[in-house]
Structure formats: C-alpha cells, structure tokens
C-alpha cells in the first residue's frame, strides 16, 4: 500500500456552518480532534455559509460526525476512504511501471 496504508478509513468531510455558533462549535471541535483543514486552510478564515472541507482520521471520524449531529451542523462526506483515492490517483502510475 502507498504510504503504508496510513490513510485507510480516513475521510474528507464538508461542513457548512450556517450560524455564528456553528463556526464556534467547529473551532472547538478542531481543538479536540486532530483534523487537517483542506479548505479554507486556517480556522480564522471559517465563516458562516462557506464550506469547510476537512480531513478526519479514521479513529475520529465517527465521533466527530456524531458531534456535528448533536450540534445540528450540516455535513457531507466528500471522500469516504482516502486511501482508496490515493491508490486510484497513483493507479495509472503503477500501470506505467508495469509497462
């Protein structure tokens, strides 16, 4: 596996904070969970109505989503398994090697 399969089960989630306290809740969650912000790239740039894309590790994604549920913050899973996407991105490359 590429990168020693370290991204297996990791997810990319799109959260859309609609209210001011949504953004505060989200920032508090960032302190609690080790998430990797994909867009925007700084918590200080998060604002209501603008999508936030974040990469959540496998062992945190379930509980992270349950926190979003409790706070009634809308979210969508953009990438359900990052490792698979990484393998796909490199897919052509490995076939090239074979060639």
């Amino acid at each position: 596996y590429l990168y020693n399969n370290r991204y297996a089960g990791n997810q990319v989630i799109r959260v859309t904070p609609n209210k001011l306290n949504d953004t505060e809740t989200l920032k508090n969650l960032f302190d609690k969970f080790q998430v990797d912000l994909w867009h925007p790239n700084s918590p200080s740039s998060i604002r209501e109505g603008a999508a936030v894309d974040l990469h959540v590790p496998r062992n945190a994604s379930k509980i992270f989503r349950s926190h979003l549920h409790q706070a009634k913050i809308h979210y969508k899973v953009l990438i359900a398994n990052l490792q698979k996407e990484i393998e796909k991105q490199a897919g052509y490359r490995s076939s090239r090697k074979r060639r």
Binding site: L2, Y3, Y7, V12, R14, D36, L37, W38, H39, P40, N41, S42, S44, S45, R47, A51, D53, H55, L78, I79, L82, E85, I86, K88, Q89, A90, Y92, R93, R96
Partner: protein, 308 residues
Amino acid sequence: SDSSYDYEVYHSLEEIQSWMHEMNKTHPSFIRLFSIGQSFERRPLYVLQLGKKSQHYKKAVWIDCGVHAREWIGPAFCQWFVKEALHSYNTDPVTRRLLNQFYFYIMPVLNVDGYHFSWTTDRFWRKTRSKISRYQCRGVDANRNWKVKWCEEGASSHPCSETYCGPFPESEPEVKAVANFLRKHKKRVKAYISIHAYAQMLLYPYSYKYATIPNFDCVESAAHNAVLALYSAYGVRYQYGPASTTLYLSSGSSMDWAYRNGIPYAFAFELRDTGYFGFLLPEFLINPTCTETMRAVKTLALNLLKKC
C-alpha cells in the same frame, strides 16, 4: 527525453529535476536552467528561463508552482506550460510572440522538501520541512513567510499550525531565494503568477486588506479576460477578484509581496477542483486542467503587451 516524458501523470521531485536538465540540454535556444539557492534540506532550487534567447533586453514573467506540497497539480502545470510553449512556438503566433518578447521564469517546485515529503511520507503535507527549535512540529507555510503584513490575520505564529508564518519573514531559504531573485530582476519582471490548488479561482492583491489596488482597472480586466479564456476550453467557471474578498484574508503571501515590490501584475491561481477529489485530483484531469490554465496564463501574459 522530452517526447517520451508523460505530462499527464504526476512526477516525483527527482523525475521533475531530471526533466529540467533534459529540457535544458535539448532546447538550448529556448531554455536555460539555473539554481537560485538551496532548500532547508539542501536541495537545489531550480528555475527554467523559457523564451527565445536574445541579446536584447526582455521583460519577464515569473511563474512558481508547488508552494504548498500537497497541491500536486501545480508542478504538473508548470511542466505542461513549458512543454506546450515549446511545442507550439512554430505553430501558434501568440506563443511565438510571447516567447520572442518575454522570458518566462518557471519554478516547477518552490517547496522542494515538502513536495518530496508528500511523495514519500505524508501525502497531505503542506508546509516546508524546516526544523523549529523547541517544537516537535516542522515546517512553515511558504505562503505566509513573505515580508508583507507578515504574520497578521490569516496566519499563525504557532509552529504546529498549517499556516505557521515562521520565526521571521523570509526565514525559509526557499522563500528567501525567490525573493532575492525577484528583487534582483525587479525592473524586468512585469508579472508574478503563483499556482495553487483547490478553489478554482484567479486572485489578485490584496490578500491582507480590503482595499482596492491602484491599478485595479487594468488588473481586473486582465483577470476577467483570463477566466474567460479558461472557460473557453471546457466551460469551467473560475471566480476572480481580490484575494481578501474572493477567498479569505491572509497576510504574508507571495502575491502581495510581489505587488508591493513593484511587480504591477501579481496573481495567484487556485486550480481544480472545488471539493470532489480535492488535493487528489486524478491524473486523467491533468490534461484538461492544464489546457484551460494555459489559456488563462497566456491571456495574462498577452495583457502585458497592451497599454493599460
């Protein structure tokens, strides 16, 4: 060789560097390879000067890619730009005019250490790889390390943050090397373009304040024409405008530094996509993404030839 190099796959740093050497060797009348310094991990910082070689004074356009390590489509575009420019010199009058009148300084990978690390260890690494004393975290955001409103809003002074501005402006040897080069060639460089990913936007100053730049009309029309050209390829719509309002407030960015240092046209592209593959843009999207971006960059460069 150039003809067998596959521009529609992502290449490792080593492959990109050997490609640069090869292009330098096989296109002596158009390409000159040189290094502007070394990275934190002592890798060479290579730049290609692309353009019909001439004894006469020539204006220049600077294009850097790979500021943020995980944004792989950037380096792919820089290589694509060189290949397309050379291949279409004899067939496309616009390309011929641009390469005859300008030098393009192309830096396919600015953040060479980070890019290498994203291939070997952490696919989603963003920053450089410099060591920060007293902290376990490594790396500075190479787009928050420029001496313009350094480390204010939209940047972080914490070494473990993804937008860490660094211990001081130009602390990163990669940033210092580019800043030194642009300072040295200040009179000739008329446009600065930095290629990023993941928003589909064409941005211009300011990022660090909500003010309007003095030459707004000229820059706005250039950006408008560029996103129209980009749209003409596959119908992909890009937003464009001042970075502070179009994207978000961020201080210490390379585009603002270039503009403040006298380069009249400074842009940052955020290429595809807007949240389907994210940084993992698949290789089959390299061709269309680079084709549309090529049209936009050529339009920006052509704009320099107009009076405005």
